[in-house]
Amino acid sequence: MKKIRKWPAIYLALIFIILYAPILYLIFYSFNSGGTMYQFEGFTLDWYRELLTDTRLLIIVLNTVIIALLSAAISTIIGVAGALAIAYARKRRVKNTLLSLNNVLIVSPDVIIGASFLILFTMIGLKLGFVSVLLAHIAFSVPIVVLMVLPKIEEMSTSMIYAAMDLGASRFDVLTKVILPYITPGIFAGFFMALTYSLDDFAVTFFVTGNGFTTLSVEIYSLARRGVSLNINALSALLFLFTIILVAGYYFITKRNEKPNGMGVRQ
C-alpha cells in the first residue's frame, strides 16, 4: 500500500466530517434542554422520556416493524422463487425479459411506484391502510431479494446439482437439500435488505397509506414539516443506534460468508 500523503488524507477526513456532522448534530441537540437546534442550554433526557411515553408514537413504531417483518418474509419467499425461475430459465430471451421486468421497480423513482400503486389499489377497491402499505412494501422488496439471491444461485456450480442427482436425489431433494441450503446466505441477505428497504421507505408509503395508518417515516415527515421539535432528534438518535446494530449484523453475515454479496446502498 502506498503511504497516504497529507492532502488526500485531509480530503477524505473532510468528506467523512461532512457525511457524519449532520447526524451527530442531530444527536447532540437531542440532549438539549433548551428546545431548539441552535442554542445548547443544558443536558437533559426529557426528549427521550417524552418519546418513550408517547403511546401513539410507540404504536407507529410497532406498525412499522410489523410491516417490515411481514413484507420482508413474504417478499423473500416470492423473490427466492423468482431468482430460481430466472436462474433456471432455459431460454436466454426469457431470462433477459424476466430480469428486465425485475429491475423496473428498482430503477423506478419512488414517486412513480407510489402514484401507480395508488391508482392500482383504488381501481381494485382496496381500502388504503395496513393492507395496501403491506402489499406495496412486498411489491418493491421482491426485486431486491431476487438481486441478492440470484448471484448466489449462479455462482453454484451445475456439477453440484448433477452430483446430487447422481447420488439418487429427486428434483425436490435437489431443491431442499442442495440448492436452498447453498443459497441460504443470499436468502438472509435478501431478507435483511428487504427489511431495511421497508423500514426506510417514505415516498411509496406516503402515497398508499390512508388516514388511520402511519409508519415512522411518514410520521417524521409530518413532524418535520411542522418545524423543529427535539422529539425527532431523540428519535433519530435511537434510530441511528438501531441502524448501526443492523449494519453491524449485516456486515457480520457477509463477513461470515467470506464473499460479500455486494454491499447495498439504499435510498
Partner: protein, 267 residues
Amino acid sequence: MRTNSRNFYLIPYVLWIALFVVTPLLLVLYYSFFDIEGHFTLENYRKFFTPVYLKMTLSSFWYAFLITLFSLLIAYPTAYLLTKTKHKQLWLLLIILPSWINLLLKAYAFLGIFGTYGAANSFLEALGIGGRQILFTDFSFIFVSVYIFLPFMILPIFNSLDELNPTLLDASNDLGGSSWVTFKRVIFPLTLDGVKAGCQIVFIPALSLFMLTRLIAGNRVITLGTAIEQHFLVTQDWGMGSTIAVFLIIAMVFIMVLTGRRKRGIL
C-alpha cells in the same frame, strides 16, 4: 430443471410481475388520458407542452444535472482515495453507513444546521461574512441533495476502481505514461461504467425526490417528482399527475439507455 418444476417457481413471481410491474405502468398511461372529471381527453398532454410545465421540466433537469455533476466531482476523488487506504472495505462501509439512515432525518438535520440561528450561520458570522438566509434557497437544495446522494455515487465508482487490474497501471507507467496520462487514458476509461452507474443512480431520484424540495427548498424548487405528488395528493388531478409520470418514465428510460447497460445489478 424440467418444465413442471420451472412453472412451479414461476407462478408467484410472474403473478408479482403482472400485478405490480406491468399493470401499474399501464394504469399510469391509461390515467394520463383522463381529466379530473373522468372524461377521456388529450388535454393533459397539451397542458404539459405549455410554458409553465416545460419550464418546470427544464428546471427539474437542470437541478438534477447540477446535483449529479457536483456528486460526481466530489465522489470520484473520494472513491479513488478510498481504494488507496489500508482497510478499504471498512472505510467504504463507513462512507455508506449514512445512506442507511432515514433520508428524512438527514433532511431534518439540515433544517437545524441551515436555520436562521443554525450552525452554518454561526460559522459564517464567525468568519465575518455575516448571517444570511440559507434554508429555502437553491444552494441549500443542491447541497442537501448532493449530501444525500454522495454515497450512491461513491459506491459504483469505488467498485470499478477496485476491480481495476493494478498491473494495467504498471503497464501504463512502464510504457512511459505519466500519472495524468495514466489517469486520462487508462483509469478513467476503465472506470467509466462505474461513473455511468453512479450518474444513473443519482440523476433519476434527483428528478423525482419530492420530500427534499418540500422540506429544504420550501416551494422554490419544483421538480417532476414534486409536481406528481402535488397532483396526486393535493389537487387530486390524477390525470395530469399521470401525464407528468409518463414523461418522467420516458426520461428515465432515456437516461438508462444513455448510461448504457451495465454488467452487474443495480445494487
